[in-house]
């Protein structure tokens, strides 16, 4: 236990401020034991707590225990509500983000050494890539064997002898580092394919700042915002237009870090696009938008190189853009990082790096890395085989060869003898697939677990970006902590938590950089052109939301009709049967005699029923997940709540199911309110609203056809008014009770009833009129043509003269309109299939 700290805490104690907390912290420290054979961030080798950690704990001691609990609860709530999540490969659902209570602390002076080291490394890799894809001097001069490079899948042959647009191979590089037993920071690995984690680091910071704003100020913690702004500026400067359109290219919602990608796109103001959204024309890359093709000047890619272009790389890829590589070769698209940059992640290169540094930058490496021997070199292989049992073995390139399939190195000492012998044979046979690495025990940091502090190993990812003024390091990073105390230093994998990383500046932190000065920002009210994919998903989000609401109303009506007195009457039974058919389409072995409560519960909760409340809520959430960067946290939160509610176990009675419908309808009403009030009224909202209107129009017309037929009973007409939520409007207008013509008028023709078909069509026509057109000749495009003609048709129709055929025609025309909207505005390439590969028959 450190005396300074004790003293400090005692002083707090004497002042009477939060004495209990001071004692609390003291007791944590008493029980904190660093691991025997590993250095620790908090407690030095001499057993003394480090000064910057002392400063942190003393600052924490200002909060009462209750206050601390409350603030951490805020942190948890924010994480939950923001939908901060990640996906474990192969899983369909996302997991909530695990964030450690304690940050990793690094002193300013030490940080500057790390900064200098990773900047040197970024520059060295940049020159290495330029040399490998260019002149190849390091290979010709024997600094590195060709095979140590060519084993990487990321040596992209189509880019050999290509110079990148904007002149850079690397614009966003990351290094995983850890503190070695000698107290220095060591590089464990390099990331250049599409480094992830920066967005999570930013979100970690945001969450913590909300809860502990004062701490950041008092402890003089470096800010992250300017790093991202300068990265953006670097990318913008590389494009050849003054206000370039920058896209973040994502593999889509099923990628492991989709949350982060959507988050970064929103934070940086980039368009989030998938391969389908992009198209190459005349050598240039474009985004498909509702206003046609618009130039994409720069791409920040999160799609791995090999999947970028089905025409030149993996032919079966659906993540890429045909022709993209050609456009990159022609120097027409700035890409960060250039495809093929990922080859520097190969461990095979590490052993040669000091020599490469000497040749390309004439300098020694400022940060050491884990000693590595590529077994493709006979002498290195002999060394590794001679020390086999003390080594860690790993794949020399990205994918693990037999025996070391995992990404991380395998410690040979820990393996059973027969596996070790098999690996030894593998290394003898095909040494080029393996590297031997020295086993290094990295430092631990304290984490808060079960009411006490314990040491845990961690790895820190540091990010370096190319800016207009050279390389810049994010002052902070993405820290991953292993959940096992005995985890060997290198084996970080699943089961990690993350921690915010605080650089405790010894210089004043520049607060002004957080907001750009007002002068050089142009006021923009309309945010560019909406990508077709976003329009598509907004439209369907609207449709599913509306369809869900309609289903809930049907279930409610169904339950209500059984609860009312006199419901045993013949007519009531008929209505119920009709509703039941709407809710649960008849299928084999099922007749109308299912228990009422059972039908209602299925219609609400059964995920296998395509039109159940739950299935529709899920469909809505899925569509929303693809446009997550455009939706507020509130909308996302309510969608999550709606799904959770509907995913509950079946209710035993129809009365309870009805209550649940009411609750869900209230959530939907809240959602509509948010969409109506808080959604920016640009093109995106138009599509969402059109989706709702089309759906509402179609379903109202269909219900009118079913329940307001020529000889409809009063019961049926009442039911229709219920289902389209027009009871109150009707009663305020007609005192005499329900009759066919007025009900039909209210459902179909009344332009002032916000539930009528007429109203929906008028709104759709309004939206269409404000959307951009592709033609310059002033002629109407097909969707507007259909909407206008339908509007006129409804305007001249008379309720008394309507027949079933006419009502059905309204319904069909609306469906045609929906298809016309899809064809005009959404991805034309959606149905793209790849050409059948030709079979060689020799």
């Amino acid at each position: 236990m450190n005396e300074d700290l004790k003293l400090n805490l005692r002083q707090q104690d004497r002042k009477g401020r939060n004495a209990a907390v001071a004692r609390q912290i003291e007791s944590w420290l008493e029980t904190y034991r660093r691991l025997d054979n590993a250095p620790d961030e908090f407690i030095g080798a001499d057993g003394v707590a480090r000064a910057h950690w002392v400063r942190y704990f003393v600052a924490m001691a200002r909060y009462s225990q209750r206050e601390l609990a409350q603030r951490f609860a805020n942190v948890d709530r924010h994480i939950r509500e923001s939908g901060m999540s990640y996906r474990v490969y192969g899983e369909t659902s996302e997991r909530a983000w695990p964030l450690s209570r304690l940050p990793l602390l690094i002193e300013g002076a030490e940080w500057r050494q790390i900064e200098a080291g990773v900047i040197q490394r970024a520059e060295l890799w940049e020159r290495t890539l330029a040399d490998i894809y260019g002149e190849g001097r390091i290979v010709a001069e024997g600094v590195v064997p060709a095979a140590a490079i060519l084993g990487s899948d990321d040596f992209l042959r189509p880019l050999h002898h290509v110079s990148p647009a904007g002149g850079r191979w690397l614009r966003f590089y990351a290094a995983d580092i850890g503190r070695g037993p000698d107290g220095r920071w060591w590089v464990l690995g390099d990331r250049a394919q599409a480094p992830s984690g920066a967005g999570y680091a930013l979100e970690n910071r945001l969450v913590f700042t909300r809860a502990f704003a004062n701490l950041y100020r008092d402890l003089n913690i470096e800010r992250l915002a300017s790093f991202f702004r300068e990265f953006r500026a670097g990318l913008a400067a590389a494009a050849d237009r003054s206000e370039p359109r920058i896209c973040l290219m994502t593999p889509g919602p099923y990628s492991q870090t989709y949350f982060e990608q959507a988050y970064l796109a929103r934070y940086l103001g980039f368009l989030l696009v998938e391969g389908d959204d992009l198209v190459v024309r005349d050598g240039r890359t474009h985004v498909r938008t509702i206003a046609g093709l618009k130039r994409a000047d720069a791409l920040w890619r999160r799609v791995d190189s090999e999947w970028l272009d089905p025409l030149e790389l993996i032919a079966s890829s659906h993540l890429g853009v045909p022709g993209l590589i050609e456009s990159i070769r022609a120097g027409q698209t700035v890409v960060a990082n250039m495809p093929g940059a990922g080859l520097i992640e190969s461990r095979a290169l590490l052993g040669y790096l000091p020599a490469i540094a000497d040749r390309l930058i004439g300098d020694e490496l400022k940060l050491p890395h884990i000693a590595t021997w590529w077994c493709g070199d006979p002498r290195a292989a002999a060394d590794v085989l001679a020390n086999f049992d003390n080594m860690a073995l790993a794949g020399a390139f990205q994918d693990g060869p037999p025996g070391v399939e995992e990404r991380r190195p395998v410690e040979l000492a820990a393996l059973p003898p027969e596996r070790r012998a098999a690996l030894r044979e593998q290394v003898r046979q095909r040494g080029m697939d393996y590297v031997g690495q020295e086993v290094v025990r990295l430092s631990t940091m304290p984490v808060w677990q079960d009411g006490a502090l314990s040491p845990r190993p961690f790895v820190l990812r540091v990010f370096v970006a190319r800016t207009p003024d050279g390389w810049r390091v994010m002052p902070g990073g993405f820290c991953r902590i292993s959940d096992r105390p005995d985890a060997r230093a290198l084996s970080m994998g699943e089961g990690v938590t993350s921690a915010d990383v605080w650089i405790m500046a010894d210089r004043p932190v520049d607060m002004t950089t957080l907001l750009p000065s007002g002068d050089n920002i142009r006021i923009v009210r309309q945010l560019g052109n909406l990508p077709s994919r976003a329009a598509d998903n907004l439209f369907w989000f609207g449709r599913y939301m509306e369809r869900c609401e309609a289903t809930l109303r049907l279930i409610r009506a169904y339950c209500a009709r059984t609860a009312e007195p006199g419901s045993a009457g013949a007519n009531a039974a008929g209505v119920r049967a009709r509703l039941q058919r709407l809710l649960i389409p008849r299928h084999a072995g099922e007749d109308g005699e299912r228990a009422i409560a059972d039908v209602a519960a299925h219609a609400l909760h059964d995920p296998k029923l395509p039109a159940s409340g739950l299935a529709l809520a899920r469909a809505a959430r899925h569509a929303a997940s693809i446009i997550r960067e455009r939706l507020s946290h509130d909308i996302w939160r309510i969608l999550g709540e709606l799904e959770t509610q509907l995913a509950a176990a079946h209710a035993p009675t129809e009365a309870e199911t009805m209550d649940r419908c009411e609750d869900a309808l209230q959530l939907l009403a809240a959602l509509s309110g948010l969409v109506q009030e808080n959604f920016n009224r640009v093109a995106g909202w138009s599509f969402l609203d059109m989706g709702r209107r089309v759906e509402r129009g179609v379903s109202t017309a269909a219900l009118a056809r079913l329940f307001a037929e020529r000889d409809a009973t009063a019961d049926n007409l009442e039911l229709l008014l219920d289902l389209i939520d027009s009871q109150i409007t009707y009663r305020s207008r007609y005192i005499a009770g329900v009759a066919l013509a007025p009900v039909r008028d209210m459902a179909l023709l009344d332009p002032y009833n916000p539930r009528s078909v007429a109203f929906q069509v008028a709104r759709i026509a309004e939206h269409l009129a404000t959307l951009p057109t592709l033609r310059q000749d002033g002629l109407m495009e097909q969707p507007l043509r259909i909407a206008t003609s339908l509007q006129a048709d409804i305007a001249v129709a008379e309720a008394a003269k309507l027949d079933a055929q006419k009502i059905a025609a309204f319904e069909t025309t609306l469906s045609t309109l929906a298809i016309a909207i899809e064809e005009r505005y959404f991805l034309q390439g959606k149905n793209a299939v790849s050409a059948e590969p030709m079979k060689g028959l020799g």
Binding site: P145, L311, G323, Q429, M432, Q828, A832, M838, L841, G842
Partner: protein
């Protein structure tokens, strides 16, 4: 030997196709042993954009874009080509395969000529333990590389059954290996995987082979097929030697090279993306006609 080549590929689509983007590798390679006298590719409907380049391995690639609505796409590749191969080195005089492996590992260039491009697994010719073990039987200690490779080729010809129904283009190598059957592609991939498993550089070659009609029967037009075989690197002096495991032949003047790569994916004759939702049917006709000297 001089040949007239005619390779016609026809796609028929169930639904009209609005747009096609494709890359063709159909033009024979020009090299010391092969001279392309004349070559051309004809496409209907006519492309709006067309561009020809050489890929990393020196194969000619024609990319094109069609924007016209079509139900049929026809690609016709025509070429007149003269083949005159130098004899392969005497197999027993090539260096020991272990030395070949070592030299490949020490290669000092990243250019297409480096054997190091062909010692690592590729997508369609991954490392496969049983294939490596199978190849190892031919590669006894110190055996000259070409002699060992020829032995492996002959064993494949003997042990594997030619069966066009046994595999599809998507059949994984392991399956073709286990069932001991397939077509030229499968044999080439299996041989490559075995060689690479031992660290011996092996490349994939696509092309054509002249078929000689049974005695007394006329040559049938369009009945020839596209073919595939292997190139093995036998050290810096002997260089690359072509071996055809389907026919157990050292590559000769009956073989016409079109493209070279790490596996089929690098040399696929037609890669493309069409915008359509319907089914497609493909038909291929190949004609390799020796030209009478008098006609040249």
């Amino acid at each position: 030997m001089i040949y007239d080549l005619r390779h016609v590929t026809t796609y028929n689509y169930e639904a009209p196709v609005a747009s096609t983007l494709c890359a063709l590798r159909l033009s024979p390679r020009e090299s010391r042993e092969q001279h392309v006298i004349d070559a051309g590719i004809d496409v209907t409907p006519a492309p709006v954009a067309r561009h020809t380049r050489r890929d990393f391995f020196g194969n000619q690639v024609t990319t094109l874009r069609i924007e016209e609505l079509h139900r049929e796409l026809r690609v016709t590749s025509l070429a007149r080509i003269e083949v005159h191969r130098a004899p392969q080195p005497h197999a027993d005089l090539t260096p020991a395969w272990e030395d070949v492996r070592r030299d490949a590992m020490a290669s000092r260039t990243l250019d297409a000529r480096s054997p190091a491009h062909h010692i690592f697994p590729s997508r369609l010719a991954p490392l496969y333990g049983p294939a490596t073990a199978y190849a190892a039987e031919s590669f006894t200690a110190g055996r000259p590389a070409l002699a060992a490779a020829i032995d492996l080729m002959q064993r494949i010809r003997r042990d594997f059954r030619y069966d066009p129904e046994a595999t599809l283009v998507s059949t994984p190598l392991s399956q073709a290996f286990e069932q001991r059957g397939g077509v030229c592609q499968d044999f080439a991939h299996i041989m490559i995987a075995g060689l690479r498993g031992l660290g011996v550089p092996a490349a994939y070659v696509s092309g054509y082979i002249r078929t000689i009609p049974p005695p007394g029967q006329p040559r049938l037009e369009g009945a020839d097929v596209s073919h595939a075989w292997v190139r093995v690197w036998c050290g810096p002096n002997a260089g690359w030697c072509g071996l055809d495991p389907t026919n157990a032949l050292q590559v000769n003047d009956d073989h016409i090279e079109v493209a070279v790569g790490r596996d089929y994916a690098d040399v696929s004759p037609i890669d493309g993306v069409i915008l359509s939702s319907g089914r497609q049917k493909m038909n291929v006709s190949v004609d390799v006609k020796p030209v009478e000297p008098a006609l040249v």
